[in-house]
Symmetry: C2
Subunit: 429 residues, 2 copies
């Protein structure tokens, strides 16, 4: 067992790195390469070229381990995203940000609602158990999600942090992502992923419905974590400043808290990633957050996330797109996603008086969905909300919208133009 796990990991790490390298050669970020590598390792390519890979490399036994590593990886990743979450972004340019983020939510949910009227009749798109409104909310959230961490990285790497584009995109992206996750939590809650809670004696007492457990439990956790939790955790921040960093003991306590949060949010019927995300937001900032990130991120991003990309890719069957009905659905969903997010955010920014270049750049960045989309749809597949066909369509949508981001951004807001138009702003960031 140990040997096959190590072989599997070696292949995964090399595949992700190789495709990532090719992606970089054509000016794409590493994450695009890893998303594609995961798909290639699954039944869409490796499974076709070498059918025995399913039993020789990705055995049933090691797949469990892959799943656990993938869950841990995305949970820690969402924790790190929460740690990066900066409420300060909301304060400046509040009006523009509010408009862009509202457009980036309302339009996807309208499109989602309309599409599901049709899609609920296409086989393999949704689980037969699902209600219309659940399907509409799930598809809306899938279209509304933004690769917030990728957006934040592009903005910081290009020195745009202080510019109007940077502030606007960061604020709108953060609001939209938080909202999309909340909607997903509601879908999971109403879908009855959790058990009803019975209080009192077996014959008598009261029973609390699964939805109430999920939503009530999630709200309770969020409120406690962000009030009392944040206060209690602030002590870690002061201690880290005093000791010059995060000690092993502090890191162990943080990881134990993370595991408790992931466990709790999982059993109430929302998902482990919410627990990690909210805990990340509740953590103290400054030296503590910086040092914690340095200690957790390398292993989570370099070792655990490729496990997630592969696990996700093993579930992706691009061959379903050969069915005409699925292919049509796929093309329509792809176009609706680009229009519902990218075009809507561009229009909102224009209406708020942003120049066309900035508005195009905002739309482009908001349209990239990256890893966040993969996380949301893997949860949907795992909890039985969506079927294989919609899963594979949304994997393609995630890859295409992420692939578009860098070249389109270069085109509308490239280095050269920026340095000609906004030298002071860009340099001062």
């Amino acid at each position: 067992m140990a040997a096959s796990f190590f072989l599997q990991m070696a292949i995964i790490l090399l595949a992700c790195r190789l495709v990532g390298l090719l992606a970089k050669k054509v000016g794409q970020p590493q994450v695009v390469g890893e998303m594609i590598a995961g798909v290639l390792l699954g039944p869409s390519l490796l499974g076709v070229l070498w059918p025995a890979s399913k039993t020789e490399i990705f055995t049933q036994d090691t797949r469990r381990i892959l799943e656990a590593g993938a869950q841990l990886g995305v949970g820690l990743y969402m924790f790190l995203v929460g740690l990066e979450f900066n409420i300060g972004h909301f304060k400046s340019r509040a009006r523009s940000a509010a408009c862009v983020s509202i457009a980036g939510m309302v339009v996807p949910f309208i499109l989602g609602s309309l599409l599901v009227l049709w899609l609920q009749h296409v086989t393999g798109i949704f689980s037969p158990k699902i209600e219309y409104y659940q399907g509409a909310l799930f598809l809306g959230a899938s279209i509304a999600i933004t690769a917030f961490p990728m957006l934040a990285r592009i903005i910081s790497e290009r020195g745009l942090s202080g510019t109007s584009l940077g502030t606007l995109a960061l604020a709108a992206g953060a609001i939209d992502d938080a909202a999309a996750w909340c909607v997903l939590a509601v879908v999971l809650a109403t879908f009855g992923a959790s058990q009803p809670l019975h209080l009192g004696p077996a014959n008598g007492g009261i029973t609390i419905g699964a939805e109430v457990v999920a939503i009530g439990g999630a709200v309770l956790y969020g409120v406690l974590a962000l009030t009392i939790g944040r206060k209690l955790l602030a002590g870690f921040g002061r201690r880290a400043e005093r000791e010059g960093g995060v000690s092993q003991a502090m890191m162990a306590v943080v990881l134990a808290l993370f595991c408790f949060a992931a466990w709790y949010t999982d059993i109430i019927g929302v998902h482990a990633v919410f627990g990690g995300f909210i805990l990340g937001i509740a953590m103290p900032r400054g030296l503590f957050a910086d040092d914690l990130r340095k200690k957790i991120e390398p292993f989570a991003v370099v070792f655990l996330l490729p496990m997630f990309f592969t696990f996700s890719g093993l579930n992706t069957k691009l061959s379903v797109l050969l069915q005409p009905a699925v292919l049509v659905a796929g093309v329509v969903i792809l176009l609706a996603s680009i229009a519902g997010k990218g075009v809507a955010c561009w229009a909102a920014a224009r209406l708020n008086g942003e120049d066309n270049r900035t508005a195009m750049a905002v739309g482009t960045l908001m349209n990239a969905r990256g890893l966040m989309e993969l996380i949301i749809i893997n949860i949907g597949l795992q909890k039985g909300v969506i079927g294989e066909a919609l899963f594979s369509i949304l994997v393609v949508m995630a890859i295409v919208t992420t692939l578009m981001a860098t070249p389109v951004f270069e085109l509308v807001y490239g280095r050269k133009q920026r340095s000609l138009d906004l030298p002071a702003e860009a340099e001062g960031a």
Copy 2:
């Protein structure tokens, strides 16, 4: 599945931290606490107090994940030990170091050979399949092993790196550990943990015995890794110096190489830890090694190693010590271990002209076995060399000899005496 894995990890991390904190209160290192915490989570305490813990927390499903995490943890840990391995230690004080390390190997193997004459007749000590010489070699290696990383930490924390004690203990500890691991590899190889290799057509061709595959394969790997491998890897070192650190791409390649090495050494029939250890030695030093350590160590030590301590603890049944024959064997093995390692190294140091205080300190440090002992005996149990009774005895031996180290070291070589006797040497370190 995900939920129970997170709950299990939260409990493991908290238990290791809590017992570690108690250990620190009484002046013991964190690792002693974690070793004990692992045993307490297993059938020796938690399993007695709450028998359902076996099915409620450490389920068969999550135990697989625990095993994979534990394997990965010790593999990465041994990689880090290899990364710390400094050939430079051998050069100064070569004669004393050679004598101490020879004594620290020869005496354990003599005692092991004598004890096995008797122990092979005690039920549950060895696997019935084992030959006398294999048992003797395994017990010898278990007695000869030293907690080299702990020894290195004590020496560096107390500023003893330049002193005669520091140099002597580091060199002798490193030589003994390397030798003990080689002996273990031979035991595993001759025990037929691997498959014979058949070359040529099915009816005809030649078959290479499992021992030859194992030993030949291990030697081949070691030689290639430490010659060509080291040369090729040197490029990483130069690149890290140029780029000011280890990039994610470099880290991914190193982790992929690590996984390949672990897989290869596992399938030839030695163990994944050898692959990691040798690869660690072959890595370039300087900024590359320092930065790589900073990126791998926190997660490996804080998250993965507690999985190993717990996995090991779940296999430890202290109740076997209630059988009179096992208890007698346990006491004899414990005394033989202390005499065979601690006393032998002290005597060798004295004969080489070290003063009594230094010799006592060397004996004390060499006698601590810590995590290294747990790794060696878990391999023995997993490969079916030893039985449950000997495993539990050696867990106790590992804990007791590690517990002894700090107070005895304080007694014979405490801060106060050191600063009185060797101010220049100690300060200059």
